[in-house]
Amino acid sequence: MTSPKNRTVALLGNPNCGKTTLFNRLTGLRQKVGNYPGVTVERREGRLAGSTGITLLDLPGCYSLTPKSPDERIARDVLLNWIPDLPAVDAVIVVVDASNLRRNLFLATQVIELGLPVVLVCNMLDLVASHGKQIDLVALGDRLGVPIVGTVATTGAGLDELCTVITRCCTSASPASLSSSGSACSSGAAGFSFADDALLSVTAPLRDALVAHQIVPADIACPVARMLASSPSSDSDVSPDHWPAEFTLAFARIQKQWRSNGEHPSSALVQARYVALQQITGGVVDHEPTSFISRSDRIDAIVTHKFWGMAAFTTVMLVMFLAIFSGADPIMGFIESGVSWLGGFTASVLGEGVLTDLLVDGVIAGVGNIVVFFPQICILFLFIALLEDTGYMARVAFLMDRVMSGAGLHGKSFIPLLSSFACAVPAIMATRTIENRRDRLATMLVAPLMSCSARLPVYIILITILFPGALWLKVGIMLSMYALGTITALAVAFILKRTLLKGPTPTFIMELPPYRMPMPGALIRNMWDRSKLFLTQAGTVILALSIVLWALAYFPRVDAKAGLSPGAQLRQSYMGQIGRGMEPIIEPLGFDWKIGVGLAASFAAREVFVSTMGIVYGIEGDVDESSTTLIDAMSNARRDDGRKVFTPLTGISLMVFYVLACQCMSTIAVVKRETNSWRWPTFMFAYMTVLAYVASLIVYQGGLAVGFR
């Protein structure tokens, strides 16, 4: 047997260095995607193609091992074996973008200092060559003291050699050899020295604590202590959960020193590392990148231009929405008919009975309600992947940061909020690119306020019933509903960032990567991975809740021989009881119990409101005999005292409620998943419900007061 068994090799690198492309090449299609325990940081692993027992673990992209975000923390924690249930890594492949060597090597030298066996991958050599440059890989490898392989991940050049080097590295290294080469305090493994007396003395207590608590082996305690010293200690997002008490003390001392002289003790270290890198790269690259007038820059001159940039941006966003709404249409119709066919087929095979009703009306219809949105979600994810892989996503953040920072958010919040006009679920998943936890939470919590496509049928039916005629009025009301959601979302974000999610001002230090031609295969794969996550993870919660909602509408059964119509059954079901129980509460908003049933049923998915109204009104005795369509039934519906149920005022009040209320179990499921607790989804549900209630109350009572009916 030539290949070693059960070795884990981590893949690490700066964002945009080509790590994902390389990972996909090295592992082929045999990948597992999941999460790290306790956090929603994506965990990808796969078997190294052609090996028997080498697992590649793709770590989140990061710039440094002193983490500034949960993603970067994971990278550090994996390397230091601080994550329970995860095997220690046996070697690390550090991928660097050869066209931007120095900054990329910053991270590489940090890893080398930890003494783990490192294989350095110099990727994007084609770009270097196209600039007419060359990199002396042998000299670079010698200076850093690690094996080095040059690759072009997009074409696969150099990957065979890389596989050989990885296998050799795994064969020779003993397992779990954190620090086999060992790095003493004064000099790193690569032979560059960062001895700085001030830093050494200030980090000594940290180092001692690390050793005393056996958090890391003694021989690497020094570099780890230095690394920790520059982490923002107060931020629980990036520090391990259970620091020993000495750590807190040591951190407090470092902070104090920093505050007193204005200089962070670690800044000397960062600086020294760059000086060392200057020496290491000196003569290795035949000349430095000095010109920023590249193809990318010429694109940027247009794309971030005051006028053309904004025009291009608007066009891109419009195309995206056109594709989401019109492109998904035929497939959505196809899915809808597929779902009803499946329902009919199941019913005909099983015959009548509770089980059939459960399967057809609960499971199939319930899941169908959500799956109809799957094409839209796929298209949205495809666009997000496209924006990311071309490099345009960073420009969107660059263009929109000023607008978003007004609401206390980040430029990167823009795309998630915009995506929310299609569906809040992928929008919430897309917030993962926001590093700062508070910004990310704020974005997630307000995203469902943007009017998603499931609200559209509700708006349409209400507007059609209530405002026949005048097209401008219809359009105006529709746009007002979208505006109401958007303005409220920004206002709530503003308030959240000043109250619950208050924290140090987040930074906007973001690389603007060069524009690149995306690879279709990578795009499809990216889209599919995320869409699948939606189906499998949110899907299970949705399935469970669909069954619960079905049961509420189905039970208790009355004697079937009485031949109750579906409407009468719904009326006396738990759902109907909930609707009637809600009546006194929703009465001040202008709603009767039937609307209450619609609201309760809408929790499955908002567009269910329309079909529920159909069932409820299908049986109304006071409905005019000649009115056969739902629209007629609803517009003619009357209260006990003979007043119309759906007056324009009730309609507006109801629409406002739909704009603001959190009636979407998929959203709640995905927020639960992304935040890993019930706290935030509960909070979201509560604040949105209160907001919706109060706003509708103001609209209805205010409307009554000024004489509307």
Binding site: N100, H264, Y274, F307, F398
Partner: protein, 134 residues
């Protein structure tokens, strides 16, 4: 050495003679500790003009300006800024500002970085006179 006066913000004194030792009486509370500006710390290749005082903060530079980083004011963002390559001695070009004025796009260590004016304000730079080779 040509220093265009519109690149000089009001709060930076033009009188101090040594860029490495800003006038301690300077009113700007955000001035870094003098140790931060110690030229000995900076990378050997950076030839700081010790006879010119043109130390300003990065946010005050105009689009197209070229400068050399001399120091970073200590704050939550300072370590990340340095890790991204804004270390003393590094050359920096202001490439553009976003259409709404903020953030800005700078060219540093061979790549483009965007940062808000608030963060750029932490970065002390020394203007490279126009025409000096990069």
């Amino acid at each position: 050495m040509i220093v265009s006066s519109e690149n000089m913000p009001d709060n930076v004194s033009g009188a101090a003679s040594d860029p490495a030792m800003p006038d301690p009486a300077m009113p700007d509370p955000a001035m870094p500790d003098p140790a931060m500006l110690d030229p000995a710390m900076s990378d050997g290749s950076a030839k700081a003009d010790s006879d010119a005082d043109n130390t300003v903060t990065l946010d005050s530079l105009q689009v197209g300006a070229a400068a050399t980083v001399v120091g970073i004011h200590g704050s939550d963002a300072s370590i990340r800024l340095m890790e991204m390559g804004l270390v003393p001695g590094a050359r920096i070009n202001v490439v553009r500002r976003a259409p709404l004025g903020d953030p800005m796009d700078v060219f540093i260590q061979g790549y483009h970085l965007s940062l808000r004016a608030a963060e750029a304000h932490l970065v002390y730079v020394q203007l490279t006179p126009p025409g000096a080779s990069a």
